[in-house]
């Protein structure tokens, strides 16, 4: 198609061209200038000559410099038709500004000139038009007549009925029409009647029976009580006759209280969630399904004359050793309760421990500053003699190292009594405990002021070492891990687990107890129980957390001893309330399953003497029997 006819360009082009004195108007018209992109010219002028594109060699940099340097850059526009830059004049800029503001282009145009009406509202002597009126404006309309006659006909025929008069009475509807009359509605269910006033009784009488009158003490008590605590809000008074009754002084007060009662009466019943307390208790198996466990007291081992602090059973389960405050150690036959041997030692026995190795017959006893290793000569003669050989086979090392304790071999009379080795400690010893293999032995000397609190002795080499360099608090008890080279140290509030090979702290267990009294390690080695003087027993799952897995508060008084059974899933705790509580504590091999702890039996029997009940508990190594020693000088066996 032909390009449209060239038309005169908008005003600014004309102005510009005139000013330039040279008409370079392009005649190609309103066509996209891209059509001339590849040509050297850009169009044709009025004379039909080609308008050549001006040589433009401005690049971006020149453009930028131009933008920076040229003060008229802002008013320079590019004309696509001629491909030339045009600098706008002041008038043109002014025009652009005015158009941008929405004003008229012409400066002189006044858009607020007063308007002149074409017609006036006044009737003039000359009408605007002089046209005569039509005929139809004089004669009635036929169309109207037709319509009216149709309506009349319809009314006659009864097709159109007159409108009913509007009802003036208000309209109502039944809000509850759809309600089931038999349903119990919420507002009926929740109906709370206003509280009734109490009917007056005898005490309100003007002449009450004498038993209703308050005595002097009762009156004093009544006066001292708070108004809310009083049983009666007034004092019953006796008057000789009704005439003597004065005006009721509390009348306004009483009416006011009645109003308060009505006003503050709850209008709605409070919904309380009724939780059955049974549902909150976790489902535990019945104790009778968890047999066997000790249930009755079977034997009483009598003989001590003072409180029995500590007991320990032999690894075969035939013998029991006990240490007492009467300065003796006694050996008992378990199944008859017979005291087989009594040994006098030079102090109140604080702790006894039978060597857990069945091939060694040694008992460690501690009293005052001494740990004594005894050979009780009970059980197999061969074991007894091999134990003696083990002790005498010791050869002193060439260089003598300074040791914390002195090892002394007993001879003569003491040897005949059963004493084998005496370890004299620098401080009072409170506890001795054997390692599972029976060669190592640890002793505890509680002392808050130094790091010499725990010592580990090796019997075969007669060596002693202090495993700790620092003092971490008063040590209560220690224990060896049954399988791995770990060492448990219980201070007042924490149990620290040390790796003896790496010589580092592995774990620190927070017991949440005020003062730990005793500790026992599960034979599997992954669980631990701690008894404390504030009546708690904490069960730790070492794999789970450093916080107690379970806290048991079954005892009424301070716990003194805790023990695990070696084979059966049982543990026991003895306390100052004279009872031993046996719990089923099943540890599963499955790591996902938490230990099951069920208290199964409270064993009573010990009498409380000097506020002390049970002082130590220990299990029989093979049977589900528990021994307990008490302050009443007896040891008891529960089976």
């Amino acid at each position: 198609p032909l390009p449209p006819l060239p038309r005169p360009h908008p005003a600014k082009g004309i102005h510009k061209c005139r000013k330039m004195g040279q008409d370079i108007r392009n005649t190609v018209g309103n066509v996209p200038m891209e059509w001339y992109q590849d040509y050297p010219h850009i169009g044709y002028n009025l004379d039909g000559k080609k308008i050549f594109k001006p040589i433009r060699n401005k690049d971006e940099l020149d453009e930028f410099l131009d933008k920076m340097e040229n003060p008229d850059y802002w008013r320079t526009v590019h004309d696509k038709m001629t491909a030339s830059d045009i600098r706008l004049t002041d008038e043109q800029v002014d025009l652009v500004h005015r158009l941008q503001k929405g004003q008229f282009g012409d400066v002189n145009f006044n858009e607020y000139e007063p308007s002149v009406d074409f017609f006036t509202n006044e009737v003039m002597i000359h009408p605007v038009t002089n046209r005569p009126q039509d005929k139809r404006s004089f004669i009635p309309s036929l169309i109207e007549k037709e319509k009216v006659s149709k309506l009349v006909h319809a009314i006659k025929m009864g097709w159109i009925k007159p409108r009913k008069p509007k009802e003036t009475t208000p309209q109502y509807y039944d809000l509850w029409a759809k309600e089931d009359p038999n349903a119990i509605l919420g507002r009926h269910k929740m109906h709370v009647p206003a509280p009734k006033m109490r009917l007056p009784g005898h005490e309100e009488s003007y002449n009450p029976p004498p038993e209703y009158l308050l005595t002097e003490e009762e009156r004093l008590v009544w006066e001292q009580q708070d108004a809310e605590d009083r049983k009666l809000p007034f004092l019953p008074q006796k008057h000789s006759c009704l005439r003597a009754v004065p005006a009721f002084s509390r009348f306004i007060h009483e009416r006011f209280e009645r109003c308060l009662d009505l006003y503050l009466c709850p209008r709605q019943r409070k919904m309380r969630v009724n939780v059955n307390p049974e549902d909150l208790i976790p489902k535990l198996p019945k104790p009778k399904d968890l047999q066997p466990f000790p249930t009755t007291m079977s034997l009483v081992y009598r003989g001590h004359t003072s409180l029995v602090r500590c007991i320990s059973a032999s690894p075969t389960g035939q013998w029991l050793v006990s240490g007492s405050d009467d300065f003796t150690v006694r050996f008992w036959e378990v199944n008859t309760g017979r005291c087989m041997k009594t040994l006098e030692v030079g102090g109140a026995v604080k702790s006894v421990a039978w060597n857990p190795n069945p091939a060694v017959c040694l008992v460690a006893v501690c009293f005052e500053h001494t740990v004594l290793l005894l050979n009780p000569s009970l059980g197999d003669r061969l074991v007894v003699s091999s134990t003696d050989q083990l002790i005498t086979a010791y050869e002193p090392p060439e260089e003598d190292k300074e040791q914390a304790v002195t090892w002394a071999l007993s001879e003569g009379l003491e040897h005949n009594k059963g004493h084998r080795l005496t370890l004299t400690h620098p401080k009072a010893v409170k506890q001795v405990v054997w390692h599972g293999k029976g060669d190592y032995l640890s002793s505890v000397m509680p002392d808050n002021s130094s790091n010499l609190q725990v010592l580990i002795h090796q019997v075969s080499k007669r060596r002693t070492q202090n495993p700790f360099r620092k003092n971490k608090g008063l040590v209560q008890c220690v224990s060896f891990h049954p399988l791995r080279p770990y060492f448990f140290v219980a201070t007042q509030r924490y149990v620290r687990v040390y790796n003896l090979i790496k010589q580092e702290l592995t774990k620190k267990l927070m017991t949440n107890c005020k003062w730990i009294s005793s500790m026992a390690i599960h034979p599997g080695g992954d669980n631990l129980i701690c008894g404390s003087y504030d009546c708690r027993l904490a069960w730790f799952d070492l794999d789970l957390s450093t916080k107690p897995y379970k806290m048991l508060r079954h005892h009424k008084k301070a716990l003194r001893g805790v023990a695990y059974h070696r084979n059966y899933p049982l543990f026991a705790s003895g306390a100052d309330d004279g009872s031993v509580i046996v719990c089923h504590g099943m540890v599963y091999n499955d790591l996902l399953q938490n230990p099951l702890i069920v208290p199964v039996k409270v064993l009573k029997g010990h009498q409380i003497t000097h506020d002390l009940g049970v002082l130590d508990v220990t299990f029989h190594p093979t049977q589900p029997w528990v021994f307990s020693s008490g302050a009443d000088t007896t040891i008891r066996l529960f089976t």
């Binding site: 047999q291 066997p292 079977s298 034997l299 075969t316 389960g317 035939q318 199944n335 008859t336 309760g337 017979r338 087989m340 069945p358 059980g379 197999d380 003669r381 061969l382 093979t622 049977q623 089976t639």
Partner: protein, 405 residues
């Protein structure tokens, strides 16, 4: 008051009454029934003297009123009730009290002598009248068990087992009252708690089993006591201490242990034949060849009866429950198939009839401390010893005909 139709019968010809039904008040008790029988016998035989009877309804002793008993046993009161009556077992009369120096661990009596083992490391021989005849001293530790082996006229062989891991065989001449240690048996690696001799052979064949399964075979030096003997056979299989052994007959040995089992062993091969498993530690067992039952005393309160021949190893036939402590000793009557005696840590000796398992026939509360051993001889004597250092003997009068029943 309702009446019951009853028919009385007895095996004892001496006391038999006519086989006719009687109408008896339902609330009548043993004493009234006994009076009825006595009346009947008096009517039959003028010279009859009053005798106390006990009554059995379907093999169970009557202990309450007849109607209560029948209700408890679920017996119909419509039919004629068959009531068996036997002469009442009279209460054992305490006869002698023999004081020891220490606890008595074991007792065995035969028709002439009583042998006791004591915690003072000796065994003693007593006459039946309670006279100390001989003290057997030789052990270095507590004597735990004693046994008669054989008697040839005036010479007897006896065994003592001790905590010092030895068993000593002694020869005792009762006429010259001389004692000679014949042998010392070694082999145990723990205290020897129990011994038993073969009753049929009555030779020097003794069998003992005790604690750890690994026992040293080393022969030790013969001491001055006599020739050392080593075990002919070791029966190992128990996991824990063996508390009691006995011979069932010449081929079978029975042992009870702390590992909750009773095992029957073949004496020839030494292999386990049967294992009876209980739930508690066994303290003592006894076997009656008359009724072929084992009685066991264990660390609960019950005396249990077992059938050693049954294939089903866990069958408990009956449990006799009345003790309140561990049952430490049981012994069947040698001449009565239903009676046994048991001693317990609750200081009581109880005489039982298996036909009355709820209540014992008699409680003997002579001891002031734990009862550790009981025995029962053919010569109408029951014995019990305990931790109060006293050995009590009781005499009872058994009715001969009843014993054969």
């Amino acid at each position: 008051m309702s009446q019951l139709q009853t028919r009385f019968f007895t095996d004892n010809k001496k006391y038999s009454v006519d086989d006719v039904p009687f109408s008896i008040p339902a609330a009548s008790e043993v004493q009234e029934l006994s009076n009825v029988i006595n009346k009947l016998l008096e009517a039959k035989n003028g010279s009859h003297s009053q005798i106390e009877f006990d009554f059995l309804v379907r093999g169970q002793f009557l202990r309450t009123s007849l109607s209560n008993h029948m209700e408890a046993e679920g017996i119909s009161t419509e039919d004629v009730v068959e009531i068996e009556y036997v002469e009442r077992f009279t209460a054992p009369q305490p006869e002698e009290c023999m004081m020891h120096d220490d606890w008595i661990s074991s007792v065995e009596a035969d028709s002439e002598w009583i042998l006791t083992g004591s915690y003072d490391k000796t065994a003693r021989i007593w006459s039946l009248e309670g006279k100390a005849v001989m003290t057997v001293a030789g052990h270095t530790d507590v004597v735990k068990d004693v046994a008669w082996v054989r008697r040839d006229g005036l010479t007897s062989l006896l065994l003592t087992a001790s905590l010092d891991q030895t068993i000593l065989l002694w020869e005792w001449n009762s006429e010259r009252n001389k004692l000679k240690a014949r042998h010392c048996c070694r082999g145990h690696a723990g205290s020897v708690d129990t011994i038993a001799t073969d009753p049929t052979l009555a030779t020097e064949e003794e069998e003992e089993v005790e604690e750890p399964p690994s026992r040293p075979r080393k022969k030790q030096k013969t001491e001055q006591l006599g020739l050392t003997r080593t075990p002919l056979m070791t029966l190992s299989g128990h996991n824990e201490a063996v508390s009691s052994v006995l011979w069932l007959d010449s081929e079978e040995i029975c042992s009870a242990s702390w590992d909750h089992t009773i095992r029957l062993w073949d004496a020839e091969t030494g292999s386990v034949k049967t294992t009876l498993t209980g739930s508690k530690v066994f303290n003592h067992i006894s076997y009656s060849p008359l009724c072929r039952r084992l009685a066991s005393g264990s660390t609960d309160r019950h005396v249990r009866l077992w059938d050693p021949r049954s294939k089903d190893g866990s069958l408990v036939l009956l449990s006799l429950t009345s003790h309140s402590g561990w049952v430490t000793a049981v012994k069947w009557a040698p001449s009565h198939e239903h009676q046994l005696v048991s001693g317990s840590l609750d200081n009581l000796v109880k005489l039982w009839d298996t036909r009355s398992c709820k209540t014992p026939l008699y409680d003997v509360s002579a001891h002031e401390d734990k009862v550790l051993c009981v025995d029962w001889t053919d010569s109408r004597l029951m014995l019990s010893g305990g931790a109060d250092n006293k050995l009590y003997t009781y005499r009872y009068t058994a009715c001969e005909t009843d014993a054969g029943a």
